[in-house]
Each structure stands twice: as C-alpha cells, then as structure tokens.
Amino acid sequence: MVLEGNDREVMQGCRRGDPDAFRVLFDTYKDRVYSIALRYSGDAGMAMDITQDTFLKLMSCIAEFRGDAQFETWLFRLVVNRCLDHHRRGRRFLPLVSGLFDLVRVSSETVLHELLRAEFQSSVQDVVQTLPPEQRIVIVLRYTEGLSYEEIADVLGCSTGTVGSRLNRAHKVLQRRLSHLRKSVGGSRE
C-alpha cells in the first residue's frame, strides 16, 4: 500500500498519536500481522505476543515511517524482526493445537472432515516449524502473504537470488517431509 488519500490521513493521525487513527490501522493489518506471526511460530499464544509487540513497536516508531516507501513492506519488517527476536529468545514454539479444540464445537457431520483438515494443517505447520528461521520466514511470506520474490527481498533486505535459494532449499525439505500428503492434495502428476 503506497499511502494515498485516507490512508495518508490515517498515517498522519497515527503520527500525532491519535488513538482512533491507530485503531483504524490496527483493524486494517491485524489479521495479516497475526497470520505471519502464527504461521512462523506455530503457536497461538506466541503469535499473540508477537502481534502485540509489533503493534506496540509500530506505535512508538510510526514517526520514522516517511510515507515514501511501501507501508506494508515497512510493517512486515517489524513483524519479521519480532518473529526472529522471539525465536532468538529461545522460546519453544509449540505445535498448533488450538484449532483442534474448536472441533468440539462443530457438528458431528463435519467432525471427520475438520479433523482431517486440522491434522493436515497441523502436519504442514509442524513440518514448517522444523525449517531454519530464514527459510521459514520466506515460506510464510510467500504462502501466507503471497508476496513476490522482489517483495520478500525488500522485507528481508536481501537479494531476490537469496530469496530464491532459501525457497528452493525449503521446498526440498518440505517436499520430502510432506510427501505422505501428496496423494491427498491430488496434485500427483507422475
């Protein structure tokens, strides 16, 4: 998002410390920030912490954002840094299990389907968790946010070649470890 019109007003409001403007910004980006944090950490509680830290950081340093760059890129840098910080602090990222508790509430007809989906999801998430941080964050930005190589390179401050090689290495690991899900995806072309 290159800031225009209302977005620019919201940003200026945030710079002035206007809580309403900040609420607008929060509502616009909370899902994206939380999703990156969740997919990176694999833990809902940790994702909450990372998201909270990211928005608090955003509040304190929004004046540093000049408005001539992509706001999303700037915001994603904050999230990525928070993710890597949490990782460096040595916290254990637990597998995503919170979704399973939600199954209790769904109807019996859909339980099996949801259970399978949750199992798949958990499995994919667990395998993603095994990736080294620099490969994992590239995977999250690529598949959760759908960023291009160039956009990922901007966020991470590296070259597109580096992004490509990290993705390539991550793909190889994921392909090997998720091969048991290949048929269920229905994407086998052998």
Binding site: R16, Y34, Q52, L56, V124, Y143, L174, G187
Partner: protein, 220 residues
C-alpha cells in the same frame, strides 16, 4: 526464476492451503490497550521530518559560520603576526609616513585607514616614534614603528573579525619567534599585534600607548 519443477507442483497448493491467512483473536486490541507501553493518554506530538531537517540545516549553518569566523580570525591573527615581524625588520626610510609625534601619526592613520590608534600626544620618555605604514591587503591595517630604550618594536592594528567593544585588552596570543616576541589582543573592535625584541619584559613596549602614568598597563 526458481519455479517449481513439475514433480514439485503439488507442494505449492498444499502450502497455500495450509498456511493461509487467519483472523486475529478479538481480544488482541484489548491486550495492546492494556499494555503499559501502549498509546499514551496524552500523545506525544511527533516532530515532522521537515522540522528535523530545518533544525539540522540551521545547526550546520551556525557551525559553518562559527567555524568561518574562527578561521578568519585565526588567519587575521597569522597575517598580523607576519606583518608585525616584518615590520620589526623595516628601516625608518621604508615607512609611508615618518613622524615622531603621536598626534600626527594618529591623524595620518585615521585619514588613511579610518582606524583609531590610542597614541598619546606626548609619548613616554623612553619611546621614540619612527612613523607608520599602511599594510597592503583587503581590510584596513596599519603598522606603527617605534623604538624603546633603543630596541625596535612594531604595533600592527587592524579591524577585529568579531566586534569587541570593551575597553579592556583581551589577549589572544603570545609567542616567541626567534629573538622576537609577538603578542596580540583585541580592544574596541580592533586587533592589535605587537612585535618586539625579546628581552623578557613586555611592560616597556606598552609605554607606546600607556605613557607611564596610565595604570592600565599593569591591569591588562
């Protein structure tokens, strides 16, 4: 660039499907609000970037101007020092205006350069005025040659780089150069540089302007 090979095509949709975006929990905003470091009640006003730039530019300009003044002042000091040392070597016949009377020299200097030299009408007993000479250059500058107890001395006077309206001497510099000694000070917006043959006592050379009864010699 790094597109998946055909046998990897199943991975892309799998990852896209299982790493999708999710909704943030509803209580996230409340958590942020409850945080001690959340938005302050009376928000601090952010200083816009142009103000920073303006402050920075002003600071740089002030430093540059101050540096320029300092440099100019230092250059004047150096120039006056050289002129005074050269004047010490000058013979009376090389002077632009030869006179042994303080008032005559003062009038000539005033007419020639506009500078005021506080020469008394009657010099002290040991002082023998030789005359004055205009110093070529941009700003008006003058040298007064004299002898005291047989020793040569020269006083170079020019406009000071920064105006010092006080009557007191503000000494800037004092050094020995070979057998000579050079002292400089500012007073009433003028820079004074005195060169004299080093004999360990400055007081005699001060008699050029302070004719013995003036207590300023001792105070300054």
């Amino acid at each position: 660039m790094n597109n998946p090979r055909p046998d990897e095509l199943w991975l892309d949709p799998l990852l896209s499907r299982h790493l999708t975006r999710v909704s943030a929990p509803d209580d996230l905003w409340r958590r942020i609000q409850d945080s001690p470091s959340a938005v302050p009640a009376s928000p601090r006003r952010a200083i816009p970037a142009p103000v920073y730039r303006w402050v920075l530019t002003t600071a740089v300009l002030v430093i540059a101007v101050a540096w320029g003044i300092l440099l100019r002042s230092e250059q004047r000091l150096l120039t006056a020092r050289e002129v005074a040392l050269q004047a010490l070597e000058r013979e009376p016949e090389d002077l632009d205006f030869r006179s042994s009377t303080g008032s005559e020299i003062r009038t000539w200097v005033k007419a020639r350069t506009g500078l005021e030299i506080p020469l008394p009408s009657h010099a002290a007993e040991n002082v023998r005025l030789a005359g004055a000479c205009a110093v070529p250059g941009g700003s008006p500058s003058i040298e007064v040659a004299y002898r005291i107890a047989g020793r040569k001395a020269a006083l170079v006077v020019s406009k000071a780089a920064h105006h010092d309206a006080g009557d007191k001497h503000r000494f800037l510099h004092c050094e020995s150069v070979g057998s000579a000694r050079v002292s400089s000070w500012t007073m009433r917006g003028q820079l004074y540089t005195l060169a004299y043959q080093n004999h360990g006592e400055l007081r005699d050379e001060c008699l050029l302007c302070h004719n013995g009864s003036d207590p300023m010699v001792l105070r300054n």
